[in-house]
C-alpha cells in the first residue's frame, strides 16, 4: 500500500511556497475554472458530489454545513488555522511548506459561499507560518486573485490574517468566532447558528480547505476514486512518539491499517523497545493496545476497536506511539494537565472536573494513590462524559475529551494504575536521557 499524496504531492518542490512555482504546477487553475464557469453553486455542488469531510477531527460533510447558506451565502468565512491538539501538526506544515494550496482552497470556498471577507484565525505560536501565509496572500493579491472585481468576475474577496493569542479552545468554532470578536474564547451554545459581528459566518479548517483546489480542478468523480464510499479522499496522518520515522504520511482513507502505518511507514517502534500503546487520533481519542492495531484507517471502521462496547474515536489522524518506557499514569497526568490548563471554565464539569481528575492522578503518579481512587477516576470521568448516552454536562465537546481519554487509559491499562496504588510507586523504570529518533530527518 503506497502513500497517496494529494495535499503533500508538491510539497517537496523547491520554492513551492512562492506563487511562481505553485502556478507552474497548475496552481490556481481550479480557481480559474471556477471563475470562468461563473457559478458559485457549481463549486458547492462539486464539493457535495466529492463528499469532502472536515479533516479537523469532526468528519462532518462540508456540504451539510454549507447547504443552509445556498441561497444567501455567508458574509464571513473564518478559517481555523488554530491547530493545537498534541499529536496533530499537519496544518502547521501545510501552512509553512505549501501555503498557496491553502490560499487557493480558501478562495474557492469563499467563492462558493459568496463570502466577502475571510479571517484566517492563525495560532499565535505559528510565527513562521504566519509570515509565509501572509506573503502567499500578498502574492495572490498582487496577481489579482483577491480584492475587488477579481479578474473582472464581479467576485470580491479580502483575506485577513488574525493571530490568536494562545490556547487550545479557539479551535472550537463558536469559541473561535468569539475570540475574533474580541472576547475570551468561550464556546457558545444557542440556536442562532454561527455568526460573526452579527452576520452569518462559517468556520472551516485549513487542512480541509486544502483539498478544494484538487477537487475543483480534477472533479468529484476523480476524488471519489480514493478512500471509501462514505469517507472519500485521503488523510494526512501525523505520526509522533517512539517510532523510527515520525512525520506526515498521506494515505487514502481506509487504505491500510494502523499497524501498517506505524510499521511500514513510520518504521515501527525504535530499536530495542516494544510497542506498548497507540493513541490513534490525537489526544482526544482513547488509547489502543498493541493487539488492537489492525483496524483500517477509516472512521467507519473505528466504531469498536478491539471489540466491546467502548466507542473509540478516529479523531484527527494524530498517531502517538508509546513504547515500554512509557508510564501510562504519567501519560494520563500529562493529558490531565493539558486539559485542565486549556479549560475555559464556563461549565463546572470541565473546569472543576478536569482539575479534580488531575489532582487525583498527581497522587496516584507519586505513589500516594488510594484504593478508591481508581474507581473515583472512572466514576468522575463517567460523570463528565458518559460513554454511551451523552449527558451534555459539558458545554462543548472539548470538555469531554479528557474524560474519554482517561476512560480509555483505565480500560486498556487499568492494571498499571493499580500497581501504582498497590505498590505506592511507579513500576516503570524511567529513562532520563533526552531522546531523538534514530534518523533525525524532519519529514517535510
Amino acid at each position: 500500500m503506497p502513500e497517496c499524496r494529494l495535499l503533500l504531492r508538491d510539497i517537496d518542490i523547491p520554492d513551492i511556497e512562492r506563487i511562481e512555482a505553485y502556478l507552474a504546477c497548475g496552481g490556481y487553475r481550479a480557481f480559474g475554472k471556477a471563475l470562468a464557469a461563473g457559478e458559485p453553486e457549481q463549486v458547492m455542488a462539486e464539493v457535495k458530489a466529492a463528499g469532502l469531510q472536515n479533516r479537523g477531527g469532526e468528519w462532518y460533510p462540508l456540504a451539510e454545513r454549507w447547504a443552509p447558506h445556498l441561497a444567501e451565502g455567508v458574509h464571513y468565512l473564518c478559517v481555523d488555522a488554530s491547530e493545537g491538539e498534541p499529536g496533530i501538526y499537519r496544518d502547521r506544515k501545510l501552512i509553512e511548506r505549501h501555503p498557496h494550496q491553502i490560499v487557493e482552497g480558501i478562495i474557492l470556498a469563499a467563492y462558493a459561499l459568496r463570502a466577502r471577507v475571510v479571517y484566517v484565525y492563525i495560532r499565535e505560536e505559528m510565527h513562521r507560518g504566519r509570515v509565509l501565509l501572509e506573503r502567499a496572500v500578498a502574492e495572490a493579491g498582487a496577481r489579482g486573485f483577491l480584492g475587488g472585481n477579481i479578474l473582472g468576475s464581479g467576485f470580491a474577496l479580502d483575506i485577513h490574517l488574525h493571530s490568536g493569542a494562545g490556547g487550545y479552545i479557539p479551535r472550537e468554532p463558536t469559541a473561535l468566532l468569539r475570540s475574533l470578536e474580541g472576547h475570551r474564547a468561550e464556546p457558545r451554545q444557542g440556536d442562532g447558528g454561527l455568526t460573526l459581528f452579527g452576520r452569518p459566518a462559517l468556520v472551516e479548517n485549513v487542512g480541509t480547505l486544502a483539498y478544494l483546489p484538487h477537487i475543483v480542478d480534477r472533479g468529484a468523480v476523480w476524488f471519489r476514486e480514493m478512500g471509501s464510499e462514505r469517507y472519500p479522499g485521503t488523510c494526512v496522518f501525523c505520526v509522533s512518539g517512539h517510532v523510527r520515522r515520525p512525520g506526515l504520511y498521506e494515505l487514502e482513507i481506509g487504505g491500510g491499517t494502523l499497524r501498517e502505518l506505524i510499521q511500514k511507514f513510520a518504521g515501527g517502534v525504535r530499536a530495542g523497545h516494544e510497542l506498548k500503546g497507540v493513541i490513534p487520533g490525537g489526544i482526544s481519542s482513547p488509547v489502543l493496545r498493541p493487539e488492537e492495531l489492525d483496524v483500517r484507517l477509516s472512521p467507519e471502521e473505528w466504531a469498536v476497536p478491539g471489540g466491546g462496547d467502548f466507542p473509540g474515536a478516529f479523531g484527527g489522524g494524530g498517531v502517538i506511539v508509546m513504547d515500554d518506557t512509557t508510564c501510562m499514569v504519567d501519560t494520563a497526568l500529562n493529558l490531565a494537565r493539558f486539559y485542565a490548563r486549556e479549560s475555559c471554565g464556563q461549565c463546572p464539569a470541565c473546569g472543576a472536573g478536569t482539575h479534580w481528575l488531575q489532582k487525583v492522578l498527581e497522587r496516584v503518579e507519586k505513589g500516594e494513590g488510594r484504593r478508591e481512587d481508581l474507581e473515583l477516576l472512572g466514576s468522575v470521568s463517567g460523570q463528565i462524559a458518559p460513554l454511551l448516552e451523552p449527558s451534555r454536562t459539558t458545554l462543548c465537546s472539548l470538555g469531554e475529551e479528557f474524560a474519554w481519554s482517561l476512560l480509555g487509559l483505565l480500560r486498556s491499562f487499568g492494571e498499571e494504575f493499580e500497581r501504582h496504588v498497590v505498590e505506592g510507586r511507579c513500576p516503570i523504570e524511567k529513562d532520563r536521557r533526552i531522546k531523538v529518533p534514530e534518523t533525525v530527518s524532519v519529514r517535510f
Binding site: 475570551r184 468561550e186 457558545r188 451554545q189 444557542g190 440556536d191 485542565a340 490548563r341 486549556e342 479549560s343 475555559c344 471554565g345 464556563q346 461549565c347 463546572p348 464539569a349 470541565c350 473546569g351 472543576a352 472536573g353 478536569t354 482539575h355 479534580w356 489532582k359 487525583v360 497522587r363 473515583l376 468522575v380 460523570q383 463528565i384 448516552e389 451523552p390 449527558s391 451534555r392 454536562t393 459539558t394 458545554l395
Partner: protein, 555 residues
C-alpha cells in the same frame, strides 16, 4: 400556539417560548444557577438539563436556552436528569468552601437549595480546595472569590442592564474568578442588585456584616419611598428594626431591580435624630409638650389668628394618598384656604433609564402624582412651592403647616430665610434638623416604613404601602396627626385606619384607585420568610423553594 408534553402532561403554550420559563409557569421547577430571565443565557452551569425527545431519540438539552416547538416531549424527572443534576452540583461544589455556618447567604442560598434537593449529602472531593483572597469590588460589595461558581450573572448584569461593565471574568478553568479593573470599581446606580443576583454567598453587602441570618428576618411587602418610581420591595425586619430592603419582582414597575439609593437609603429610619416627642417654642424657649398641647397650639394660632388668605399648607410628596386626602380636606373644608403646595425633592439629574426599561426617577419623593390626583379630586390644585415662598416674602402668607417625612433635608439659603420670615410655622417631620429648629411647633411623624397607606407612582399606578415596623414610640403616623388637627378644627373625622380613608378615595376617584386597599389585610403582613431578592424571591413565592419548605430529602 403549541402543545407540548411536560412530564407526561399536555401543556398549551406558544412556539418560541423559553422552555425553562414555561416549565416554571406550569409549576415544574427546573433547578438553575446561571440563568436569569432578564439576562442573556450562556447555558454554562448545565444544571437546567432536561430530556427532550428528538428525531434521534431522547437527548439532553439545557432548558434555559431551548425554545418551545410544537409537539416537543420534555422530561424533567427520571434517572438521567437526576444524575446530570447531581453531577453538575458535585462539580460546582468542588472548590466551594464549606462556609455555610459563617456565610451571609445561608438560608437563602440557591446552591444550598439545589444541593439539598438534587445533590448528594456527601461530596467525594478529597483534595485541597483552591483558595482565593476576598476583594472589595466597590459600593460596599464584597467578593468572596472562593465561593464564586462562575455563573457570570453579576458580569452580565453590569454589561446588559446597568450598561457600565465594571465587572469582568478573569483566568480560566477551575481558577475562573470575577474582578474589576484596578481603579475602575463597581460604581453604577444599580450595583446592589448583584448581591441579590449572586446565587451563592460570593457577593455580599459589606454593611450587613452584623445582621441576623436570613431565616430570622421577616419580610414585609411594601413600596420603596426613595423616588416616584414606586419600586416594589420587601422590607426585612427583626424585632422592630429594618435590616435590609430587597426588590420584589414586578415587571410593570421595577422589573427585578431596585436602585442603590433606595436599597441603602433607609437608615434615617433608625437615626438617633428621630423625633419622638412634640415640641413647642424655638431656640431657648423650646420645650417638649404633650400631643394635646401641641395640636392645640398649632391649630389655634393657624386657624384663629391667621385668616385663610394668610395661611398655607405645604406637603413634601412623602404623604400617602390617604394623608393627602385628609390634608386637602383640612385645608379646604376646615381652614378654608386654597393655598396647598407641593415642595418636591428633585435631585436635578432627571430620570435615568436603563436598558431593560428600569428607570431611576429624578423626582425623589414617592407620591407626587398621588397627592396631585387626590387634591384635584377634591377640587384643589397643588401649587408649586415657589408660589408660597414668594408670598411669604411679600408678607401675604404668615403661617404655614409643613409636612416633611423623608430623610435628611438640606435647606437652601433662600428657603431658610423665607421660613424664618414666617410668624408661625408648624412642622410635621421625622428627623430633627435645621427645618424643625425653625418651627414653632414640631409634630413627630413617621417614615413610610411605619405606616399604612397608598402611593401613586409616576405612571399612575396606585400601590399599597405596608407598615414594616411599629411607629417610633411617641411619634404618630401623619394621618393620625392630621385627624387630630382636623378634630381641633371642627371636623367630624373618626377614621380608624387608612383603609377607611382609602375607601373614600376609591369612591371619589374610582379607576386606578379602586381595590388598592388590599382587601383589608392586617397591617404588617407580607411575604413572611425572607429569601433573597428579585428572581430568587420570586421563585420562593411561587413555592419552589425556601427554608422550611422541603418535603423531599436529599439522597
Amino acid at each position: 400556539m403549541a402543545t407540548i408534553t411536560l412530564d407526561g402532561r399536555q401543556v398549551e403554550t406558544r412556539e418560541g417560548e423559553n422552555l425553562l420559563l414555561v416549565a416554571l409557569e406550569q409549576g415544574v421547577y427546573i433547578p438553575h444557577l446561571c440563568f436569569h430571565p432578564a439576562l442573556s443565557a450562556p447555558a454554562g452551569c448545565r444544571l437546567c438539563l432536561v430530556e427532550v425527545k428528538g428525531a434521534a431519540g431522547w437527548e439532553m438539552v439545557t432548558s434555559c436556552d431551548t425554545r418551545i416547538v410544537d409537539g416537543m416531549v420534555v422530561n424533567t424527572e427520571g434517572e438521567r436528569v437526576a444524575q446530570a443534576r447531581a453531577a453538575v452540583l458535585e462539580f460546582a461544589l468542588l472548590n466551594h468552601p464549606l462556609d455555610c455556618p459563617v456565610c451571609d447567604k445561608a438560608g437563602e442560598c440557591e446552591l444550598q437549595e439545589h444541593v439539598h434537593v438534587h445533590g448528594c449529602a456527601v461530596g467525594r472531593f478529597d483534595e485541597k480546595k483552591l483558595t482565593q483572597p476576598k476583594k472589595v469590588l466597590g459600593k460596599g460589595v464584597l467578593l468572596h472569590a472562593e465561593r464564586c461558581i462562575g455563573c457570570t450573572r453579576c458580569v452580565r448584569f453590569c454589561d446588559e442592564i446597568a450598561g457600565t461593565s465594571e465587572l469582568g471574568i478573569f483566568a480560566r478553568g477551575a481558577r475562573v474568578e470575577v474582578g474589576v479593573f484596578p481603579g475602575v470599581e463597581l460604581g453604577n446606580d444599580l450595583a446592589g442588585n448583584v448581591v441579590d443576583l449572586c446565587p451563592v454567598g460570593a457577593l455580599t453587602d459589606g454593611e450587613l456584616a452584623v445582621a441576623p441570618p436570613a431565616w430570622k428576618l421577616k419580610g414585609i411587602d411594601s413600596i420603596c419611598p426613595g423616588c416616584s418610581a414606586g419600586c416594589n420591595v420587601r422590607v426585612d425586619v427583626q424585632r422592630g428594626r429594618i435590616f435590609r430592603l430587597r426588590p420584589r419582582v414586578n415587571l410593570d414597575v421595577n422589573r427585578y431591580w431596585m436602585c442603590d439609593d433606595g436599597r441603602y437609603g433607609w437608615r434615617y429610619v433608625h437615626a438617633e435624630r428621630r423625633l419622638g416627642t412634640p415640641r413647642c417654642g424655638r431656640g431657648t424657649a423650646e420645650r417638649s409638650v404633650s400631643w394635646d398641647e401641641a395640636i392645640g397650639a398649632a391649630s389655634q394660632r393657624l386657624v384663629q389668628q391667621f385668616g385663610p388668605e394668610s395661611i398655607a399648607v405645604i406637603c413634601s410628596g412623602f404623604q400617602t394618598n390617604e394623608e393627602g386626602f385628609l390634608l386637602a380636606r383640612l385645608a379646604t373644608d376646615l381652614w378654608r384656604t386654597q393655598q396647598l403646595a407641593l415642595w418636591s425633592r428633585n435631585d436635578g439629574r432627571g430620570d435615568v433609564k436603563f436598558t431593560d426599561g428600569f428607570t431611576l426617577r429624578g423626582d425623589r419623593s414617592p407620591n407626587t402624582r398621588g397627592l396631585r390626583e387626590v387634591g384635584a379630586g377634591l377640587g384643589l390644585e397643588l401649587l408649586p412651592s415657589e408660589f408660597i415662598w414668594s408670598k411669604i416674602e411679600r408678607g401675604e402668607i404668615r403661617a404655614v403647616l409643613l409636612l416633611g417625612g423623608g430623610g435628611e433635608v438640606e435647606l437652601e439659603e433662600r428657603v431658610r430665610r423665607v421660613l424664618e420670615h414666617l410668624e408661625w410655622l408648624v412642622v410635621v417631620d421625622i428627623l430633627d434638623s435645621e427645618l424643625t429648629r425653625l418651627a414653632d411647633v414640631v409634630l413627630p411623624g413617621v417614615s413610610a416604613f411605619e405606616k399604612e397607606g397608598s402611593f401613586t407612582n409616576v405612571d399612575g399606578r396606585v400601590q399599597w404601602v405596608r407598615r414594616a415596623i411599629p411607629p417610633l414610640a411617641g411619634a404618630l403616623p401623619d394621618w393620625q396627626i392630621l385627624q387630630k388637627l382636623g378634630e381641633e378644627g371642627g371636623g367630624e373625622w373618626h377614621y380608624k385606619s387608612p383603609l377607611e380613608i382609602n375607601a373614600e378615595i376609591e369612591q371619589l376617584l374610582g379607576g386606578r384607585y379602586a381595590g388598592t386597599g388590599d382587601g383589608g389585610r392586617e397591617p404588617g403582613s407580607g411575604s413572611g420568610q425572607a429569601y433573597g431578592g428579585g428572581w430568587a424571591d420570586w421563585l420562593q413565592r411561587c413555592g419552589f423553594f425556601g427554608v422550611g419548605d422541603h418535603t423531599k430529602s436529599s439522597h
